[in-house]
Symmetry: C2
Subunit: 401 residues, 2 copies
């Protein structure tokens, strides 16, 4: 009955990378492939208290249908957290979504007509690529260096695509590269957006997890015309299983998002919203995030020093100041899909980088995650990868000689 499907079904297939993740779940594999937070840090006992308090205090209200916009005390708590990061907002700027994945999807629905140009970092977040593809967007990639998207190139792309719908950017500890857009470029991005009348979708799931370097305000902080739509989530600072994200934007946009959210799922789980708000009332979330940062810093540092020690010299890699990922560039001509297979034979897993480039492939790249493995496993896993890389790069250099 293939013929029954809508045309858009051709553009949506189960993500390749998710299929890869299934293979890497074998217990003997040391996996740097996923993007999972460290589960040992989830605040299980505090959450128990929050569940009991919500059911005792709110009772049936916590289980009944609720408003599409979301639970007001949670939206207010989000505003407070954003304020610390440099974003002024009120709860009316905030729509609770079912994870930030839904925030990305609703953004596609609300803005993208077939063929619309979307400007993004090259590479960029895989699940956003899949969403925007499902709405048949055209991807305009902008090259990056270690300080994020290149502003000269962004301006060229804006000139070439005067009707581009939005700039999609992950300025903090980007997925997949771990790179951070530097301060001057954030200001410049806003100037360019104003000048070329384009929206900015700032996807910021990792910003709260900075463990090194200096805080930089989000792009939204510099927004003077309400043209930045800011997306974030509780997944990296609390519990991803609860599927709680949010959109912060001008109420003009929020109104339209709400209409689409109504058709998508009426509203986000009210119980999850209330227990998260209650947790923030009863416990110190900053203290909790502090613990996450300490652990991720240790793991990132360990991975970086092992890469330095065990990987061949002609490999470059990013040095993140937060977030979950390190990006590795192999010498040109090395196919990371092959490296992936060889690594898996050695019981260590990474993600090949090609799928993160929306138009075709830059096949000599790969992504490593450090948040989900112990330091011990990181040392052992990077060592195993190093063996594979030395062997494969030597083969390659012998071939090219």
């Amino acid at each position: 009955m293939e013929h029954k499907f809508a045309e858009r079904a051709r553009f949506v297939t189960s993500s390749e990378t998710r299929e890869i993740l299934k293979i890497t779940e074998r217990p003997e594999v040391i996996s740097f492939a996923g993007g999972l937070p460290a589960p040992e840090l989830f605040p299980i006992d505090p959450l128990k208290d929050a569940c009991n308090a919500v059911l005792n205090e709110d009772g049936a209200a916590a289980l009944q249908y609720s408003t599409t916009e979301g639970y007001i005390p949670l939206r207010e708590a989000i505003c407070q957290r954003m304020k610390m990061a440099g974003i002024d907002s009120s709860f009316e700027n905030v729509l609770i979504t079912s994870g930030s994945q839904q925030a990305i999807d609703l953004t596609g629905r609300l803005f993208i007509n077939e063929g619309d140009a979307i400007i993004c970092e090259s590479p960029t977040y895989l699940a956003a690529i899949n969403v925007f593809k499902s709405y048949k967007a055209q991807f305009i990639e902008v090259a990056m260096d270690e300080d994020g998207m290149l502003m000269e190139e962004l301006e060229k792309r804006l000139q070439e695509h005067p009707h581009a719908k939005f700039i999609y950017t992950i300025p903090d500890f980007q997925n997949p590269t771990g790179r951070t857009l530097k301060l001057e470029r954030r200001k410049r991005m806003i100037e360019l957006a104003n000048q070329y009348d384009v929206l900015i979708v700032e996807d910021n799931p990792y910003g709260a997890v900075r463990f090194a370097g200096e805080e930089i305000p989000p792009v939204k902080h510099f927004d003077t015309e309400g043209r930045v739509i800011y997306l974030s989530t509780f997944s990296k600072i609390f519990a991803p299983g609860l599927r709680l994200g949010w959109i912060c934007a001008d109420p003009f946009f929020i109104d339209k998002y709400v209409a689409f959210k109504q058709t998508a799922d009426l509203h986000t789980d009210s119980f999850a919203q209330r227990i998260t708000a209650k947790y923030m009332e009863l416990y110190d979330m900053e203290e909790h995030i502090h613990k996450i940062k300490a652990v991720y810093k240790e793991r990132c540092t360990a991975m970086l020093s092992c890469i330095e020690e065990f990987f061949p010299n002609n490999i470059s890699y990013s040095k993140p100041e937060g977030g979950l990922f390190i990006w590795v560039e192999l010498p040109e001509g090395i196919d990371s899909a092959h490296i992936f297979t060889e690594c898996l034979n050695n019981n260590v897993a990474c993600v090949p980088g090609a799928p993160f480039f929306p138009n075709g492939t830059q096949t000599n790249t790969l992504r490593l995650n450090y948040s989900n493995m112990s330091k011990k496993k990181i040392v052992e896993g990077v060592k195993r990868m190093g063996e594979v890389l030395h062997r494969e790069l030597q083969k390659d250099s012998m071939l090219t000689v």
Copy 2:
């Protein structure tokens, strides 16, 4: 920045009826307008036990990212419940969704191209109309009588629209009419679907809440060719705030739904899935549903006898055997939007019926909900409505004389 929106944004606006519901939430109003379950029946203490058990036993796994398909023990428990209703399935036929609203939305995404014909009951569920409209479907309405959709008319519509994508039907205690599709028509619907090679989307949120008459198997029970896609939910039998619904269909369809669900929100709240599965393990859900049925039966019976007593004679209404709604037809020429306003002045609320007709309006109809008000309020509310109706119908008959 209106010009930035995608074209589809024109077709999606905040539902009129949801706006109405806001007005009717004033505490002095007796409201038959919403479609809310009775909150006093939510199993709050059992849910507390379930939360504690899940966090004690599953720990971090309950809070981590999870598979798109959903938590296997929950999917298996759903299969068991569907088996009691006459549907044979395994967990591989089941995808957990964020409420059955998402199941409807994913159905629209997966199947509807612009202009595709969707065959539905006239009237039908408002939120499904809004979803399918957002995908620019064409609605082909089929008239109903007290026993549901008329099969002769369905066949005519199938002949006129040989490429119709699916028949969207709510066979049990339909929203908005409260009517049930009788047994012979279910069998006939399957025959017609097979003959005309069309899919059936069976939306069944209320089937488990039958409080009178004899059980009738779902349309899916008679499906011989895997062409019925069955949607249901925990919202009417457990807790709507948790946003847990499901799709039961052939794995061929489930695979495609999973790909779209990945782009929509990755997966449904894992904690909500696990506490619901745990509740069904620790407690007797049938016993709980039995309580719901007893209360709804009492409220429905009260409302029907009050309508009989207080409404004018030239009004007809449905006599549901389950679910949440009674449908009222006023004499032709009476505008229920006006009745709604007059009722609200009398501090009683209903929903005008026109929005439930996807193509234009049958303005002399209205929907009453009985699940959310006590018997005492039902008596008082119907009495108030009766006063309005007597007055307005008398005015009208004086005008037409």
